[in-house]
């Protein structure tokens, strides 16, 4: 039985890189705080040595405020590991040692992996490691995880480490040691005593004490408070930082002249007061233009041509062999028809994922949050919400998982619930094909309007939630800006591949299953009392046709004139990618889609008027997300109640919006005008909501919405 070793460190200190280096696995690594949102474990194997490595979410301190940080603190307090490897970013020694200092209060054996030595060497003249080791009292191993330097040394130190409990040193002033001793006499543990000291009685949710102990502790806390002039919750952190400063001064030789770092230089441009915002918009536009614009389309066309060629060879083979008619129908219409539509979309997603990876790895995402915070705050969100929302343009599933980096549960809930409105990558082909068929030369504008409407509905929903069911002060924002790093090709590739892989697995499992089910429902049915395989002409009699017809009365007010459209929307519930695939199957051009995607155009042009097409797209944009996203949503929202609320809300919003478009449009004012009217209506609704909020939201005069009660008091006092 090997040892269990936990990796603990600040966010963005390189834990996940080290984890991958030690275990040989490929977890995704980013350059913004909070990439690891759950604990993950892997195996370290080195010659005869074997151990389990647990990668914990990064924390700045053991006093946690966000959910993902709580995972770490809980795990450490449970003492279920044999050794802690504390990763310390040497280039940011002072702040990183704060967590180290807190961990040293525990009796868990510990080793320090001093990471980012390459950056530290450039930043400081000298870093005296033996001295650091003797001052901290635990082994210190210098490494550069990103370049795999020092990993073998680290493994060797882990191998021969002392796995007996450490005896924490008494390092604090007499008064503090006295207080710790008081708490320790109640809870019997120095580590827990220091946690009570810093965090108060709240820490007790991690341990199991009876009411009497809690009461005794509470009294001891109140009594101890009288001993200090400094605010009680600042006493221990203040002492820690003073001790850390002494350590830093002893081990670091700083450069006499401060050299301007490359991060400084890059930020002079990218977060520039005037140029910062246009550059940000330009970068975002470029990413989406390259992914979904001419270049992305060009690559997609080439890729689709390849797939189609491949599929047509197989289909030719199947037809010449002469299988049972239902088998060839299953393969040609069900499986290939659907897969061709979905896989054709892979190149665009890959390009989008590639750019998102580069933005993440370089450290720009954190700047994006910094730049966008002022905007998102107006809607009660934090700049940090921007990262999940941006990922939402790719796929809702990772976007929802990323909401866990937000500090408050209200913000997590709101962000999770509005992400489905952000038009995910899987919805792009719906607009692409329908707009391409119906709006031809205007298709770009139409697709763009989808994205804009999605964003606006998301924003309005956020405001609505914030002011009604999820009341609470404006979201918090406090974020470190990491140093820029050149994204490595390997990392970028891994990152992109991980996401593409997720998509491919989905295509091969959920989607494939969905296509087979849809095929069965659409090619089988009862004709004149006999159950059999139907030909395309008889598809009306299929099960799917029956379901579509039954639901048509509900959908006809929003402009769905035939059951095919209804069914296609229904299959979007399984996966948005299958909407287009289903349209292909239902309009009977599945086989032909293989030759050219545009062959679906005539069927679509016959089925949709421009107005109906627009209404269809609006509904597809705003309705409930796919099953995979719903599963992710359930996980983040935490309860069925919230999940059902979110799903019903999305359905209602989608229906009302499509109804508005179709009914307004039917008044005969032309499509383009309808789009305009629709946008104007949205703006009116939006500004009305804002006005209502403004008239109500009188928190404290001039700083409305700052959400920090008491901050105004200080300001007015100063006046």
């Amino acid at each position: 039985m090997g040892h269990r070793i936990a990796l603990v460190g600040n966010p963005n200190s390189g834990k996940t890189t080290l984890f991958n280096g030690l275990t040989g696995s490929n977890q995704s690594v980013g350059n913004w705080p909070g990439v690891t949102i759950e604990k993950k474990s892997g195996k370290l194997k080195h010659q005869n040595f074997e151990a389990e490595i647990v990668d914990l979410p990064g924390v700045y301190s053991l006093s946690t405020i966000s959910l993902e940080e709580e995972v770490t603190t809980k795990y450490i307090l449970s003492k279920s590991m044999d050794l802690i490897v504390n990763i310390v970013d040497a280039s940011n020694l002072e702040r990183n040692l704060f967590l180290t200092h807190q961990l040293l209060d525990s009796s868990i054996p510990m080793i320090i992996a001093l990471n980012c030595m390459d950056i530290a060497k450039a930043k400081f003249q000298d870093l005296n490691i033996p001295k650091l080791e003797s001052l901290l009292g635990v082994p210190v191993v210098p490494i550069t995880a990103s370049k795999k330097h020092g990993l073998v040394d680290l493994i060797r130190v882990i191998e021969i480490a002392n796995y007996e409990p450490r005896i924490p040193q008494k390092r604090y002033s007499e008064a503090i040691e006295k207080t710790i001793l008081q708490f320790q006499s109640i809870v019997n543990d120095r580590f827990l005593a220091t946690r009570f000291f810093e965090d108060g009685i709240n820490v007790d949710k991690y341990s199991e004490h009876d009411e009497l102990t809690k009461l005794t502790l509470q009294n001891a806390l109140e009594l101890a408070k009288k001993d200090y002039t400094l605010d009680f919750d600042m006493v221990l952190p203040d002492e820690r930082y003073n001790l850390i400063l002494t350590i830093c001064n002893a081990v670091l030789t700083r450069n006499s002249v401060e050299i301007e770092s490359s991060t400084d230089k890059i930020d002079k441009l990218l977060t520039h007061r005037i140029l910062g915002l246009p550059l940000f918009l330009g970068i975002m536009f470029t990413v989406f233009y390259l992914s979904f614009g001419p270049i992305g389309t060009f690559i997609t066309d080439g890729f689709v041509w390849l797939i189609e060629g491949f599929f047509s060879i197989i289909i030719g083979g199947i037809e010449s062999v002469g299988m049972a008619p239902w088998v060839s129908s299953l393969v040609i219409n069900g499986i290939f028809g659907g897969l061709a539509a979905v896989l054709g979309f892979l190149p665009q997603l890959t390009i989008l994922f590639l750019f998102l990876s580069i933005l993440e790895d370089s450290g720009y995402m954190a700047r994006a949050a910094f730049i966008m915070d002022r905007v998102l705050r107006r809607f009660g969100l934090s700049g940090k919400s921007f990262i999940p929302m941006l990922i939402g343009f790719g796929c809702s599933v990772p976007a929802m998982a990323a909401t866990r980096t937000l500090d408050k549960s209200e913000d997590r809930k709101i962000t999770t619930m509005i992400i489905p409105f952000i038009s995910c990558g899987a919805k792009a082909p719906i607009y692409g094909i329908i707009a391409g068929a119906i709006f031809a030369s205007h298709s770009y504008l139409v697709v763009f309007s989808m994205y804009i409407i999605g964003i606006m509905v998301a924003i309005m929903s956020a405001i609505l939630f914030k002011k009604t069911i999820l009341k609470g002060a404006s979201a918090n924002y406090l974020m470190e800006l990491p140093e820029y790093r050149m994204p490595t090709a390997k990392n970028t590739f891994l990152h992109t591949w991980e996401r593409v892989k997720g998509f491919l697995i989905k295509a091969g499992t959920i989607l494939l299953g969905a296509f087979i089910v849809i095929w069965f429902l659409s090619y089988f049915g009862f004709v004149d009392g006999t159950f059999r395989l139907l030909s395309y002409e008889e598809i009306e009699y299929s099960f799917l046709g029956l379901i579509g017809k039954a639901l048509l009365p509900i959908f006809s007010p929003i402009g769905f004139s035939d059951w095919q459209a209804t069914v296609a929307i229904l299959t979007g519930f399984v996966a948005k990618e299958s909407v287009v695939g289903t349209l292909g199957i239902l309009y009977g051009v599945a086989g032909d889609v293989l030759e050219s995607g545009t062959l679906l155009y005539p069927a679509l042009q016959a089925a949709f008027t421009p107005l109906q097409a627009y209404s269809f797209m609006i509904f597809a944009l705003l309705t409930t997300p796919c099953i995979a996203a719903i599963a992710a949503m359930k996980k983040e929202l935490g309860s069925w109640k919230w999940l059902i609320f979110a799903l019903v809300y999305e359905l209602v919003v989608a229906y009302v919006a499509a109804l508005l478009v179709y009914q307004l449009g039917s008044l005969g004012i032309g499509t383009l005008l309808t789009v305009l009217v629709f946008i104007v209506v949205i703006i009116i609704v939006f500004s009305t909501i804002r006005r209502i909020i403004k008239s109500k939201g009188s928190t404290c005069g001039s700083c409305t919405g700052c959400g920090i009660e008491g901050s105004c008091d200080i300001k007015s006092k100063r006046k």
Binding site: Y60, S61, S63, I65, N92, L93, E94, R95, F98, D199, L230, D233, M234, P237, D238, Y241, E258, T263, D267, T271, H272, R273, I274, G276, L277, F280, F370, I371, D373, R374, V375, R377, G383, A473, S474, N476, Y477, L478, M479, E480, L481, C703, C706, G707, I708, G710, S711, I714, K715, R718
Partner: protein
Amino acid sequence: MTLSELKPGESGRIIHVYSNNLRKRIIDMGLTNGTVIKVKKLAPLGDPMEILVRGYFLTLRKAEARTIEIERIGVDL
């Protein structure tokens, strides 16, 4: 005066952190009494602000900066 009143390029020493909902985190990230901080810049839209503290870059909103009482100092970090 408070941190929010410092202009980019100016430095100050923390006197007190008033209560706000991020106080604990602000302290743990190294903004304890007596710490010297330098304002690097404001975001393009004027808020949040970027500060240099204990050798790293931290961004925070002016709302929180208003709860951090400081004295202006002339030295450069």
